[in-house]
């Protein structure tokens, strides 16, 4: 959680210093959800997120260096600089994205869960119990793809957990103004799956609920809908002036900062000392500093990268007038060809 918070704070700094551009959505305040869920997963389990995906990536195991480089648009980024803030992917850690349009990641997550079931039942890999977690927000819960996927996941008992990060705001649209029935967890039973509400500012409570839901999915009992009540301390993105939200509301949730809460719990229950916690803070700062340094020093993508990765099989660019496949033209590897 500390890594998530420190990283996001550094992102803000870097953004204002002109090291990264575009739309950057920070996760400050919601760390308990990411840590509470993702830390229970194995490497082969999959995570699908939205544009607010930096911390999901970090929790899943993507190195801070790779994420920071990606944000700086460098070729050492996890997506070679081609994805950016909103499109974090990692094959190694099974992070399936990073999606800019809300709701479009949920079917992809459903597909990953489908593959898990397929592997077990059709390909007969009996020990395949991979689970997929789909993270999305309150705004997405009014989107068709959400409901369509709840239906399909319940219908086929797919090993997936739908995690709603309800931070009450979709940019400037309050959840209460957009939703006929704002209690999202109630929508689970309508589709035949359990719907659970949890305090998303308390990482231990989130973890308990996550254990149940992920366990259910692993045993093949089907999907669960978990609504985490959480809050983002910053604006929707770094471009959002955040003027609409009531300061009283912000103060209320700031008082429930998950990191502060966990620190207090650890100290009160003698699980760690102040010194231990300070050491963690320091270590994380070093990790983040190192990530920035690494990203700064990494090379910018060269033009030769422009046309790579458009197709997995570059024959897809077709046959040119000279009879050769266009991808054999050296201009393609240089990136100067016109597609």
């Amino acid at each position: 959680m500390i890594l998530g918070r420190a990283f996001e704070d550094m992102c803000a700094q870097m953004y204002y210093r002109g090291k990264m551009f575009g739309f950057v959505h920070l996760y400050n305040g919601q760390e308990a959800v990411s840590t509470g869920f993702i830390k229970l997963l194995k490497q082969q389990d999959s995570v699908v997120s939205t544009y607010r995906d930096h911390v999901h990536a970090l929790s899943k195991g993507v190195p801070a260096r790779a994420v920071m480089s990606e944000l700086f648009g460098k070729t050492t980024g996890c997506c070679r600089g081609q994805g950016g803030s909103m499109h974090m992917f990692s094959r190694e850690h099974n992070l399936l994205g990073g999606f800019a349009f809300i709701g479009e990641g949920i079917p992809v997550a459903t597909g990953a869960a489908f593959t898990s079931k397929y592997k077990r039942e059709v390909l007969k890999e009996a020990d395949c119990d991979h689970v997929t977690l789909a993270f999305f927000g309150d705004g997405t819960c009014n989107n068709g793809q959400f409901f369509e996927c709840l239906n399909m996941a319940a219908l086929w008992k797919l090993p997936i957990v739908f995690v709603v990060e309800n931070n009450l705001w979709a940019i400037g649209m309050s959840h209460l103004r957009a939703t006929s029935d704002p209690q999202i967890y109630k929508k689970g039973p309508a589709f035949g799956m359990p719907g659970i509400h949890v305090d998303g500012m308390d990482v231990l409570k989130v973890r308990e609920v996550a254990k149940d839901a992920i366990g259910r999915a692993r045993r093949g009992e089907g999907p669960t809908l978990v609504e985490c009540e959480t809050y983002r301390f910053r604006g929707h993105s770094l471009a959002d002036p955040d003027e609409l939200r009531d300061p009283a509301e912000k103060a209320h949730y700031a008082a429930r900062d998950p990191i502060t809460a966990l620190k207090k719990y650890l100290i009160e229950n003698s699980l760690a000392s102040e010194a231990d916690l300070k050491a963690i803070d320091k270590k994380i700062d070093e990790v983040v500093e190192d990530a920035v340094e690494f990203a700064d020093e990494s090379p910018v993508p060269s033009q030769s990268q422009l046309l790579e990765n458009v197709f997995a099989d570059p024959k897809g660019f077709g046959i040119g007038p000279d009879g050769r496949y266009r991808c054999e033209d050296p201009k393609f590897t240089e990136g100067t060809a016109h597609v």
Partner: protein, 410 residues
């Protein structure tokens, strides 16, 4: 008047028998016994002057080709005459099914998802029997949620499966546009090459028989700008099976466009395994005077017009472009360099259709070789009306093709 009568014992292939020496005994004569010819299918071609050609070597008759029916049977002899097995006859939808079934047997990761593909066997029976054979999970009946199940297919493709997503009618895939544009085409790139999406999206489209505007759509023009996908259109049982197999084996996302009116075309296709290259165009009829580029159902309107044109003394070269994205600029270019005149016949709308892109591509690449401006015949920019005659007037008809060629060749 008595021409040489080539009897049973004669060695070379039979060419034309004079009409007055033509009697029923000759028909019973079996070429395969007396000539050491491979067991190639023999074609009987009816000429307009009444004589019959019992033609044993399909290659030899190319110079005087005269097509007896509007549906062009596969002329290209490379598969037909070089195979040692006789091949088998089937309908286009069966060819698609055969291709799909063979790939499903070959690779257990290939699966199908779509509405009514399982128990119902597919709205055009392309997946008939597959659910019984491979199970309900491999041939998945989905609820009516195109955007979501297409996205599900994409997620499955990213995590190791090779799904085929069927749009019950291509038009329904408009609902899946989000997934096809954002995820299908782009994810390989935005993930920096980490994830491949070996998905095949297929379904029937095009203008049918009075199906109404919404069921008569041509989505190839809408998807052609999406980067990262390939689009192919099948038109004969041979290329339907070949393209289906090639698409399933490809690591790229491929959209395979089928046409509602072509599912019952019959053709004899080879028994052995073959694929049709996804990026190549198909030479349907070589010629000298004009290049006609077409695809899908319009191929048959073109071939029908070709009959008329040949009678009028023209020699059109007909190419089925097959690969709608990317274009096979080699085959197309060679043709343009030979004939210097291009006519594009398509079923897309005029505005922003495949023909529009093709016109631009040809002008850019082969401008110097053109003796006349390119003529592009497309459907009218009109929602397809229900009334039969009105519907006829929205798509290109053979008579228009003939007129266009005459205009080009002035």
């Amino acid at each position: 008047m008595a021409a040489i009568f080539q009897g049973v014992g004669a060695a070379p292939a039979l060419s034309s028998l004079p009409s007055n020496s033509f009697d029923s005994k000759n028909i019973l004569f079996s070429p395969r016994r007396s000539f050491s010819v491979r067991k190639a299918p023999s074609f009987v071609v009816v000429r307009s002057d009444g004589t019959m050609n019992l033609d044993l070597n399909p290659k030899g008759r190319r110079a005087q080709q005269f097509i007896a029916n509007a549906v062009a049977t596969k002329e290209d002899s490379s598969a037909a005459s070089s195979s040692s097995k006789p091949g088998h006859e089937l309908l286009l939808f069966e060819a698609l099914r055969e291709g799909l079934e063979e790939e499903m047997e070959r690779d257990p990761r290939v699966c199908v998802m779509g509405e009514d593909v399982g128990h119902y066997g597919g709205s055009y029976k392309v997946t008939k029997g597959l659910a019984t054979k491979f199970g309900d999970l491999r041939v998945l009946d989905t609820p009516i949620a195109e955007n979501s199940f297409t996205g599900m297919g994409i997620g499955a493709a990213m995590t190791g499966l090779r799904p085929v997503v069927e749009g019950m009618n291509m038009g329904f895939l408009l609902l899946a546009f989000n997934q096809i544009s954002n995820n299908c085409g782009m994810l390989h790139y935005t993930s920096g090459g980490q994830f491949t999406i070996p998905i095949v999206i297929r379904g029937p489209g095009g203008v049918g028989r009075q199906l109404g505007a919404e069921h008569s759509q041509r989505l190839e023009s809408y998807f052609q700008s999406v980067p990262g996908i390939q689009m192919v259109a099948c038109s004969t049982p041979y290329n339907a099976k070949g393209l289906m197999k090639a698409a399933l084996r490809s690591e790229n996302p491929v959209i395979l466009f089928e046409h509602v009116l072509l599912y019952n075309l019959k053709e004899r296709i080879p028994d052995e395994d073959y694929i049709c290259n996804l990026e190549e165009a198909e030479m349907v009829r070589p010629g000298e005077h004009v290049t006609i580029l077409t695809y899908s159902r319009m191929r048959y309107h073109v071939m029908q017009a070709a009959k008329t044109l040949v009678n009028k003394g023209y020699d059109p070269e007909v190419i089925d472009i097959r690969s709608l994205k990317p274009f096979d600029l080699y085959t197309i270019g060679n043709s343009v360099k030979k004939t210097h005149r291009v006519l594009i016949v398509e079923e897309c709308m005029r505005t922003g259709g495949i023909g529009a892109s093709l016109t631009a591509a040809i002008t850019e690449n082969f401008h110097d070789y053109l003796d006349a401006p390119i003529i592009c015949l497309s459907s009218q920019d009109v929602p397809t009306p229900y009334a039969g005659r009105l519907e006829e007037w929205t798509v290109v008809q053979p008579a228009q093709i003939v007129t266009a060629v005459e205009q080009l060749c002035q």
